[in-house]
Structure formats: C-alpha cells, structure tokens
C-alpha cells in the first residue's frame, strides 16, 4: 500500500477515533459543562439562532485567509525569484525567510494591530503564515527545470528574462501549486489568530468573545468551524493542483 494512501487512512482513522472520543466524553459529561458532546456542537452550528453569528464569521475569515494567501504567496514567489537571480544574496534571503518563519504570530500581531489597524491584521498574519512554505517550495521549483531544457534555451539564444518566463516559471508551476496547498491551511489559521486581537469580524473574534462570555457550545462550534475551514482550504488547493496536473506534467 503506497505511503500516501496509508497516510490518508491513518488520518481518517485518527479523525474517527477523535470524534468518537469527543462524542463519548461529551455525552457522558465526563468533564462537565465545559466539554459538550459533538452532536450538541453540530446542532448548534446548524441552529437558526447561531447561524447569523457563525456564517458571516466564516465568510470574513475565509476572505482574510484568501487575501493573505495571495499576498503572502505573491511575496514568496518574488522572494524566490530574487533568490534565484541574485546569487550573492541567496544566503541572506534564505536566512531571513527562515527567521521570518520563526517569528510567532503572537509576537507580531499586537504590533500589526497598532500599525495596520485591527481589520487588516488577520490578512497580514495569514500572509505571514503562507510566506515560508511557498518560499521554500518556489525556490526549489525554480531550479526544477531540467538541465537538458536549460541547455536547449542556451542553444536557442534565450535571454535571462525569456528563460525565466518560458522555462523556469512553467516548470515551477506544479511546485507552486503544491506550495499553495501546503500554505492554505496556515493562511486560515493565521487569519483566525489575527482576529483574536480585536478584529471586527471573523471566527477568531467569535472564539474570544464566546470564551469571555462563557458561551461554551458557541466556542466549541467556532473552533470546529475553524478546523473545518482549514481542512476545506487544503482540499480546494489540492483539487486545484490535481486539476492542473495533467497540463504541466
């Protein structure tokens, strides 16, 4: 059995076990009020009273994540292109990318809320989360063009720009889509973290406010929705990658 399939099965099994455990603990009130059952949380998500709170929150977070993905991904691709073209700067750019990656969202979110405002912070954090995985993958992908193709372009007298546009970027596309796939869930989670710091809307806001108001089931619902949203982001990006796979391979 291939590793990919066995991995997927493991995750499926794990999810099933987790959900089962949750339902059991919740239904038996093993932890009291603070751990409601899975079924009650699901019921809350679907209920008419909660939907006007939860639905727009999901939408707002999704939009922030998307914007962050675009910005972070874009910057990462530019950084990777710079790294490729400017050999002397390569080590510095690598190091700064890794350094940026090691900065925790919580260390930079407060500063961003002051500098950029409370509504933009989720987007900025989503961009930050997307940057590193896309940068790493894009850097590798830009070198992905095989040496024979490189020779071909040399022989045909291609300029550097032509080489980048007609060979390296198309050759890098599969890798870039892969990077997007890896960065998508991070973007969602970055957005949610950013919303904790006073954003006007979003799932992060719901989590914080329901925690403060001791709205237990609502908090669980928002957390579950966050997880689902990040999984959805991954699934959509994977589907996109799969759809374009035939074209570029």
């Amino acid at each position: 059995m291939s590793t990919r399939v066995s991995m997927a099965l493991q995750y499926a099994l794990g999810t099933a076990l987790l959900l089962g455990l949750w339902q059991m603990l919740g239904a038996t009130a093993a932890f009291g009020q603070t751990l409601p059952s899975l079924s009650s949380v699901l019921a809350t998500i679907g209920s008419a009273t909660e939907r006007p709170i939860l639905a727009p929150a999901v939408g707002a977070t999704a939009l922030s994540a998307l914007a962050g993905l675009a910005i972070g991904g874009g910057c990462a691709v530019v950084a990777a292109a710079l790294r490729y073209s400017l050999q002397f700067a390569r080590e510095g750019i690598d190091r700064s990318a890794a350094t940026v990656h090691s900065i925790p969202g919580i260390g930079i979110a407060p500063v961003l809320t002051l500098a950029l405002g409370r509504a933009t912070t989720p987007i900025a954090l989503a961009a930050l989360a997307t940057f590193f995985p896309v940068y790493i993958t894009a850097s590798a992908a830009l070198g992905a063009a095989q040496s024979t193709h490189q020779d071909l372009f040399s022989v045909l007298g291609a300029s550097r720009l032509q080489r980048l546009r007609r060979l390296q970027i198309p050759a890098a596309v599969p890798g870039l889509l892969d990077a997007l796939r890896l960065g998508a869930p991070g973007a969602v989670l970055g957005a949610v973290l950013g919303e904790w710091f006073g954003a006007p809307r979003g799932l992060g806001l719901v989590i914080i406010s329901s925690a403060q108001n001791y709205q237990i089931v609502q908090m669980w619902a928002a957390s579950l929705l966050t997880t689902l949203l990040s999984v959805l982001a991954f699934a959509v990006a994977s589907a996109l990658q799969f759809a374009t796979r035939r074209r570029f391979r």
Partner: protein, 286 residues
C-alpha cells in the same frame, strides 16, 4: 521529382512526396565550421584533470553532412557542445563562418537536437516547434510551422502534448524545432539513440530527405555506423583516452540515398571499413 500538392506520408509503404514549398532555398548557406587545435580538459577534483579532447583539427565545409562516430567517452558529444558554445575549449579555436559559436547562438542560426528530445511538456507540438521564434523575438511564421509539421508527418497532432506522443514522434518534433528558423548549422547529438530500429530507420531516411532539400551544414553524433554511412558526406572516427580524430572516411555514394543502397557492396564495404576503424579506436584506449 517533387510535385506540388499535399504531402502524403505513409510509413508502411515507404512512399512520400514532398510539398513544393522550399523550406530553405539551397545554395544560400553559411555554416562553414573550422576547429583548430582544440583541447578540452575537465577538472574533476583538485589537481585531477580529465582530457576529453586533444588536438582536434577539423574543417567542415558549408552545406556538408558530417557524422562523428566513436566509442563511449571519445568526446564526440563534448565536441558538439563546444560547437554550440555550451562548453568552451581549453585551448584552440572554434570558428563558424569566421565567428565564435556565441555569435551563432545569439544570431539564432543554429539548430540542436538532444538525445532526450527536451520538448517542453506543457506545450503542444505546434508550440514546441514555434519556440525558437519566440526566443529569437521574431513573429511566428505560421506557414513555416505548418510546413514543418507536414514535413515530419504529424498532421493532425498539432495540438497534442509530448506526453501523448510516441518516442519517435517526439524526436520528429525535436527535429522540426531544430529546423524552425532555417539554421545555418544543424547539430544532432544521438537524436535517434533511444528509438527502436524500425522507427530509427524511418527517421534516418526522413533526415536524409530533409537534408537534400535544405543542404544545411549538419554534424551528427551517432553510435550506428549504418546511419552514419547512409546520411553523411564524410564520417569522422574518433578514439578516446584522450579523444582525438583517428580517421576520416569520405562517403561517395550518390544522392538521394535510399534504403536499398544499404545492401549494396559499396555501402557494405564502407561499413566494414568504419567498423574496423571503430575497433581500432576501441583498442587505442587501452
């Protein structure tokens, strides 16, 4: 001889007729290649050098077809790469029409076919053939591209991607791409090496026909002696340890060369002579 009208390519019958459109007007060729005292050394580790080529003196007149044969490691591919500027000689001079290979490349006047076809997987047949136009910053001559597609017998496959083509078809596309800009020099690095014997033979004949029409200066690197004899004006035998020219054998068969010539005594004699030379080249290394 050639009549106007659609090209009918029927592999099994081995009968073809050409479109009248002259792809390259003969007689207007450049592509005079002169190598003088060319050495090529590679340094593998500190103070360890590998001599790939030693003292290569070779002059290839414009419009001729020369094959390079020799045992593995004799430097024939390296020589080809030097001709197109992918490698620089350690010593000696390389002049093509009196200028360095770089001029040839920047003037987009050379066509090169690799052993691994090197087609862009995300582009279809037409886009691959048209690539040289883009890189030379010239408007695409759609007429010419269509002629090339017809010439290699891939009408109907214009929109196919390399993945959907057979090995022989891919090499044909690579060949058409090499000819796209009507180059002065055509360099072929074992382009048919990875193909089966039948496809290979078909492509040999095809290449011969193309060359007859265009008379572009061609240098072919190959392992197959019969291919070399079938196509060339002259066969250069190289030996290795280090790579140098062992012998030059002129091929004085009539053109156009056909498949039935292979059985003729003249052909067979030439083939034997070359094979003996190859044996000599092989043992010279030890």
């Amino acid at each position: 001889m050639s009549d106007s009208g659609l090209r009918v390519d029927v592999w099994e019958k081995g009968v073809t007729s050409h479109a009248q459109t002259a792809l390259n007007p003969p007689g207007s060729r450049g592509g005079h290649i002169v190598l003088r005292g060319v050495d090529k050394e590679f340094s593998i580790r500190r103070r360890q050098r590998f001599v790939a080529l030693h003292d290569i003196d070779l002059e290839i007149p414009a419009g001729s077809f020369v094959s390079l044969i020799g045992p593995s490691g004799c430097g024939k591919s390296t020589l080809l790469r030097i001709l197109v500027g992918l490698e620089a000689p350690t010593r000696g001079s390389v002049l093509i029409d009196g200028a360095a290979p770089r001029e040839l490349v920047q003037g987009h006047r050379v066509g090169f076919a690799f052993q691994e076809h090197a087609l862009l997987p995300w582009a279809n047949v037409v886009e691959n053939i048209a690539l040289p136009f883009h890189l030379a910053k010239r408007p695409i001559d759609q007429h010419r591209v269509a002629d090339l597609v017809a010439m290699i017998g891939l009408n109907g496959f214009e929109g196919s991607r390399p993945k959907q083509l057979s090995g022989g078809m891919r090499q044909r596309v690579a060949l058409a791409r090499a000819l796209a800009l009507a180059p002065d020099v055509l360099l072929l690095d074992e382009p048919f090496g990875a193909l089966d014997a039948i496809t290979r033979r078909h492509l040999n004949v095809e290449l011969g026909r193309i060359w007859d029409e265009t008379r572009v200066t061609t240098v072919l690197v190959t392992h197959a002696v019969d291919e070399a004899v079938l196509l060339s004006n002259e066969v250069v035998v190289m030996s290795r340890g280090p790579g140098r020219i062992l012998r030059r054998v002129p091929i004085s068969l009539d053109r156009p060369r056909t498949r039935d010539m292979i059985a003729s005594p003249v052909f067979q004699r030439l083939q034997v002579e070359l094979e003996e030379a190859l044996d000599e080249a092989e043992s010279a290394a030890r």
